[in-house]
């Protein structure tokens, strides 16, 4: 029975590392853009991985797309509270004139490839709001 448990655990862990691991760098990029601080962004990613790890079995059974939405949602929840200090020396300094939500919309939509309804779900705003925020963010990006 112990061996069977281990096999199940390994299966879940393998699914977990595949689905969550595939997004680890994107989570880090997203968190970095929102928080504008690499060290704090890493802490956010660690929080997301721990959050996902507590749901190992559930995540093993969900589709990769659902897992992606779930972990970015958690990432936003953790990152937005840390988005206070802005390090302008960051390579993402050009986004400094945006607020955290606008940076989040830009990165999720234009660089990670989420659809409007997914961004809306992750950030907990309506789609019209997301659409308007994206226009503002793209304008700021171009300068």
């Amino acid at each position: 029975m112990g061996r069977l448990n281990k096999v199940i655990d390994d299966v879940h862990f393998s699914a977990f590392t595949t689905k969550v691991g595939a997004q680890a760098d994107n989570l880090y990029r997203f968190a970095s853009a929102v928080v504008m601080d690499r060290s704090a962004a890493y802490d956010v990613v660690q929080g997301v991985i721990e959050f996902a790890g507590k749901q190992l079995e559930a995540i093993g059974m969900q589709s990769a797309s659902d897992v992606k939405n779930l972990i970015f949602k958690e990432c936003w929840q953790l990152a937005k509270s840390k988005a206070t200090g802005v390090d302008v020396a960051e390579s993402l300094g050009r986004l400094v004139k945006l607020d955290a939500e606008q940076r989040a919309v830009l990165i999720l939509s234009d660089f990670i490839g989420f659809r409007t309804e997914e961004v809306s779900d992750i950030l907990g705003c309506d789609e019209e709001h997301i659409f308007r925020a994206l226009i503002v963010a793209r304008k700021a990006m171009v300068g």
């Binding site: 050009r94 660089f111 019209e128 994206l134 990006m141």
Partner: protein
């Protein structure tokens, strides 16, 4: 992104930024496309699309430079695997070692003998065989693109007609190529060939073409093709655009997408555009 929203309700300025991506991806309907093109031709918005592409590309490069190192990844996974799972795994490893011990000396000696034979064979092979040195595709490609950017142009071939088919014909005259040379026909997307060459490294030949866009003299694109496959390159995130499956890389100066335009051939499109944008160009322009 914005297809669910009424484009008519947007100001001209907002319209451009709302639909820039769709326009570049040729996903706008005819009415919106006409409005977009009218707007970006006005004096006020003359360079807006070029600036959008440039800033988007630079941000893409900045983002790609942000990644977790192996130590951070290991640390993250270690925080997840349950202690009891780790303990079970360790116990199983110990049991496996004990089981191997139990199989006795004969088996161990057999394995040892085979191992020694393998080592001796490997040593003999290593000493006697002439293996080609490992070719670092990305390093050479980056170097060549940078060198060409700095020197201004590539004029190896005397191209009276710099059309893609003519360049391809010139490539095919070289009978020493060990792969099927390919070219991208990008004129419909406003990129024209301004130079082409065959680079002759000791271990590999590489065809290359330089493109410039008609709407700006700022940016160059470079297309390289040579023998190999994606498996020969460092692992990277994969994307797909139409039939083109690509791996994207970024450096301080360029984005690079690598794909397989033909069996046994690997192609590299190098420039400052975002990787998905270059993949769209590759998918639309591939010619063999």
């Amino acid at each position: 992104m914005s297809s669910n929203f009424s484009s008519g309700a947007l100001s001209d300025d907002d319209f451009i930024y709302a639909f820039a991506d769709e326009y570049l991806g040729e996903e706008l309907n005819d009415a919106d496309k006409a409005r977009f093109e009218t707007l970006v031709k006005t004096q006020e918005n003359k360079n807006i699309l070029e600036r959008y592409k440039k800033e988007h590309g630079q941000l893409q490069i900045a983002l790609q430079a942000i990644s977790l190192n192996p130590q951070q990844m290991e640390e993250l996974w270690n925080s997840v695997q349950a202690p009891e799972a780790r303990q079970t795994q360790e116990m199983q490893n110990i049991a496996e070692v004990s089981r191997l011990e139990f199989l006795g000396n004969i088996k161990r000696r057999s394995v040892l003998t085979l191992f020694l034979a393998g080592v001796i064979f490997s040593l003999v092979y290593f000493v006697t065989s002439k293996r080609p040195p490992k070719f670092d595709y990305l390093e050479y490609i980056r170097y060549e693109a940078l060198a060409m950017d700095r020197s201004g142009s590539v004029a190896e071939f005397d191209l009276v007609d710099p059309s893609p088919s003519n360049v391809l014909d010139v490539y095919q005259l070289d009978k020493n190529l060990d792969f099927t040379p390919t070219i991208l026909s990008l004129s419909e997307m406003n990129w024209v060939i301004t130079g082409a060459s065959i680079l002759d490294y000791e271990v590999k030949k590489i065809t290359m073409a330089q493109y410039q866009t008609r709407s700006s003299d700022e940016a160059n694109l470079y297309y390289f093709s040579t023998s190999g496959s994606l498996e020969d390159l460092p692992k990277a995130e994969r994307g797909q655009q139409a039939s083109v499956v690509y791996q994207a890389y970024a450096s301080e100066f360029y984005n690079i997408i690598a794909f397989e335009p033909d069996q046994g051939t690997v192609g590299f499109l190098v420039g400052r555009l975002a990787a998905p944008e270059m993949a769209k160009l590759a998918a639309r322009g591939l010619k063999k």
